[in-house]
Symmetry: C2
Subunit: 281 residues, 2 copies
């Protein structure tokens, strides 16, 4: 998908009204722009129902199972009827993503500090991704523009606003964190999926992985891997490390937030030293 040229403005319903935004049709629909001329027969359908059906398919059988025909069957119309509501399949995907992302829960008050806020935020998106893993298979074509994505962005920025970080830095932290969560969940769900397709559990897969790696690598060419394998700390069936440090997700999250915290501290120091900002060059 997203290979074709233009998508060519949906025939009727998604007629281009605002036009100049240059937004993907789906995004305009999601923001509630686009009005429709009140002519013709009553509509037997609406966009949310289509999106809901599509999400149901994706949740149950993955993004690969989402085809226009399949979704149409879900809402009880012919395949082509969907194109009266949606400009293309790509458009439907955008709408699905926005609907699945939904609004964030309020989160802790800003007074609790940026770190608590961002931790909450991260766990929030994590939950969304885990509930709808197919979201991560939809290629990103723009910075967040759909309504719910922007709400999540707002939430994160509300915690970063009072930290003294510059605008660029706030955005940097935002993408760093968002990207981390996305990547981490993507990885674990992909592997989990492959695991359960093989009929095994997480732990089984992990054990098998180390065994395999051991078979494939020799001490001369792969000394560091060999050392790791011989450390005896792997296979990790909820070993001590896990309980002490939390899951891999929390480990990485803590490292990132530590790094951000350190950066803020350094920034504070530098400004306290009386240097005008940017005078260091």
């Amino acid at each position: 998908m997203a290979e074709h040229e233009e998508g060519a403005e949906a025939a009727g319903a998604a007629e281009d009204t605002a036009g100049e935004t240059g937004l993907p049709a789906g995004v305009e629909t999601a923001w509630g722009l686009r009005v429709r001329a009140p002519r013709g027969p009553a509509r037997g359908l609406d966009v949310p129902r289509i999106v809901e059906a599509a999400i149901a398919v994706a949740d149950a059988e993955g993004l690969g199972a989402v085809s226009m025909g399949r979704v149409a069957k879900g809402v009880g119309v012919s395949t082509m009827a969907l194109y009266r509501y949606v400009a293309s399949k790509d458009d439907l995907l955008i709408l699905m993503e926005d609907a699945a992302v939904a609004s964030p829960s309020p989160g802790p008050p800003v007074e609790d500090g940026w770190r608590a806020g961002l931790e909450f935020w991260s766990q929030g998106i994590r939950a969304v991704y885990e509930q709808h893993p197919w979201i991560m298979r939809i290629p990103i074509s723009t910075p967040p523009l759909s309504p719910h994505s922007v709400e999540w962005m707002e939430l994160a920025l509300s915690y970063l606003a009072g930290t003294g970080l510059s605008a660029e830095e706030q955005l940097g932290v935002l993408t760093l964190l968002g990207g981390y969560v996305r990547q981490q969940v993507s990885l674990s769900t992909d592997i989990q999926a492959a695991a359960s397709a093989d009929g095994g559990t997480w732990e089984n897969v992990e054990r098998r992985y180390w065994t395999l790696l051991d078979k494939l690598t020799d001490r001369e060419r792969f000394p560091a891997i060999t050392a790791l394998l011989e450390s005896g700390e792997l296979g990790g069936q909820d070993g001590a490390e896990v309980e002490e440090e939390g899951t891999a997700f929390e480990f990485g999250l803590a490292r990132i937030l530590d790094g951000v915290e350190l950066h803020m501290a350094r920034r504070g120091e530098r400004e306290a030293e009386g240097e005008g900002p940017g005078a260091s060059s």
Copy 2:
């Protein structure tokens, strides 16, 4: 892809010889397992040539343009001939990924410190991803198992080995860093692609983005975003911030490595305090 059941062992060439590994056929091929009975006509083709042709297509027109027919045309055979060398399209993708990843360059000596090493490592994978963006569109189904991926893993671990980090922690850092690079490059190439399809430049797209976001958000519902937009620091045509801090990529990378460094320091302190390792429970 990866939706079907088994892939069913390639007819002849990819015959299952090692068998018990449970590896995807492509990985076994890549490691050079799998021998072939020297019967029948001379082969007019070999796997590397197929993979090369497939990579050429993907580099030029994206992963979406890689179809068996297209690749076959590239090497001058019929579509079905490929299946004598490759078990399935998924298999071909695995081989493409391994070939494109290639071996890492040697990198700085371990004596220069883990941070220099990991920075080199990150920039290395970054370059690979930027040269072959389609790699990131291939779903990950297992931890690194293909030969070249394992080489990259070895390189990173060689820098982490002497840091005092536990095995789990080393792996945590590895996936954190690898995931970061992947995510970051994926984001920027996706947006870049969308940009040039619209016929615009990066900067144009960014300016347009902020303008759009401004139109879509109002001060009451999106105060933090509004504040950001009004800060005047955005639109960033190589502003001061960029020169001071480096690109967004380096910003995130530095934050992560800072966080890892801090973690190592804390770990060192804790051990210097005389606590036996693991005595804290």
